[in-house]
């Protein structure tokens, strides 16, 4: 299928991209990896009149860790997360996530920024970023602002609090403290499919093994990416034993708002959230206590 007509402009820098967005307003769409946008154009679910291609802004592709923060340039490809030693050793939850996005050929172009900016509840990074309590940097005509990830998504699918003249330029993830760890588990029908359900969990423990932070995010079980607050809060101050893990998993299942569709009945998906949450928390604990 062939997209409707549009004009195409290449932005060579962030200010140039922002200026183009200013100029064209609602009519323009950013083209990053294009692996969500081009399918939408082909099905004519989207019909922007201008595409602003940011693929040539080389300095939007980076991974930098400094002063307690990992900075991910918005244009960083999923394939980079798959293979980066920094990610594998320090942020394995991000690799758990990237290797579940689509397939390896798609991941050569698909970007982390696009995965989040698209705000598809079926996309995998939103749940992980919610679990990690990440934030994103929006760059507009008057400079940068930092948006906590929870305030970036809204109650509607495919909607964010980014303004039409803003570019998502960076994702910021807190560096792991001692005794912290996380994991992402996704159930899919086959390689390249969106999740039946997915659960991201991130925890931090104090010296006595009591939970000081717990974030749990859910994929594709509601109208928007979901942070399971009650589930995370239920763990605070406790040792992460089986009782606590199962209680949190029940609360995560309760926070899910799945629909019945081709990927299964709602109750099945809720059950899978419970199971995946148990697995993600156990793996997070293993990693927080020195495992891989």
């Amino acid at each position: 299928m062939i997209p409707g007509s549009f004009d195409y402009v290449v932005a060579h820098s962030v200010p140039e991209a922002v200026a183009l967005l200013e100029q064209h307003g609602d009519e323009a769409k950013i083209l990053a990896g294009g692996h969500s946008l081009i399918p939408l154009l082909r099905f004519r679910f989207a019909s922007p009149s201008v595409l602003v291609d940011i693929n040539r802004i080389a300095d939007l592709e980076y991974l930098r860790e400094a002063s307690g923060t990992l900075r991910i340039g918005a244009l960083t490809r999923e394939a980079t997360l798959d293979t980066s030693p920094l990610i594998t050793t320090r942020y394995p939850i991000l690799r758990d996530t990237s290797i579940m996005v689509a397939d390896p050929v798609v991941r050569n172009w698909a970007t982390v920024g696009g995965n989040i900016a698209h705000a598809d509840p079926a996309n995998d990074h939103p749940a992980t970023m919610l679990a990690l309590d990440a934030s994103v940097v929006a760059t507009g005509p008057s400079g940068e602002r930092v948006i906590p990830i929870e305030e970036f998504f809204t109650d509607s699918a495919f909607e964010t609090t980014l303004k039409p003249n803003e570019l998502l330029t960076e994702i910021r993830v807190p560096s792991p403290s001692e005794r912290s760890g996380g994991a992402y588990f996704k159930l899919e029908r086959k390689v390249g499919d969106y999740a039946i359900a997915g659960v991201a969990a991130y925890i931090a423990l104090d010296g006595k093994g009591l939970v000081t932070y717990a974030g749990i995010g859910l994929t594709n079980v509601g109208p928007h990416p979901i942070k399971a607050h009650d589930a995370g809060n239920s763990l605070l101050g406790k040792p992460l034993d089986d009782t606590a893990i199962h209680q949190a998993a029940d609360l995560a299942a309760a926070a899910a708002q799945p629909n019945s569709d081709d990927r299964g009945p709602a109750e099945y998906k809720r059950g899978m959230v419970r199971t995946l949450c148990v697995r993600a928390l156990r793996k997070a604990l293993e990693r927080a206590t020195g495992g891989k």
């Binding site: 399918p39 099905f43 693929n55 397939d103 172009w109």
Partner: protein, 170 residues
Amino acid sequence: MSKQHIRVTINGTVYEDDIEPRTLLVHWIRDGLHLTGTHIGCDTTSCGACTVIVDGKATKSCTMLAVQADGREVMTVEGLEQGGKLHPIQEGFHEMHALQCGYCTPGMMLTSIAFLGRNPHPSEQEIRVAISGNLCRCTGYVNIVKAVQYAAEKMASSEQVPVGAGQGGE
């Protein structure tokens, strides 16, 4: 919506054209340049039949605009054979009976070449992951994996630099 001028190197030859920005790379390659070895198997970016190598990266050409390829280097299946000699991956597919109808084969070979450029000594599991975005409806994949292993060995022993090696996947 005006046409745009593009200049793309495909299999070492420079092609220039004026095209509508909405033209998909696969349509330009097939209908504009008549390089019909690159196939179209789906509408949903799922099958990988359209895979080509763009600047070293395996790319589903149904999900890239031709204008995005401006100034870039593309390799299609037509670029594999050199001077009447099959590329090791082609030889592998031939020797290992890795195709039946052949529809998926060009995409499979280009995905494999870009992969071997990054990982010249892969395990069987790594090969299976690497080709997981390319669907074959005939073979059951077993012989495709053997063909990639054949090519890996052949390329390692001849120290031939695989075409399409480079910055792919980073």
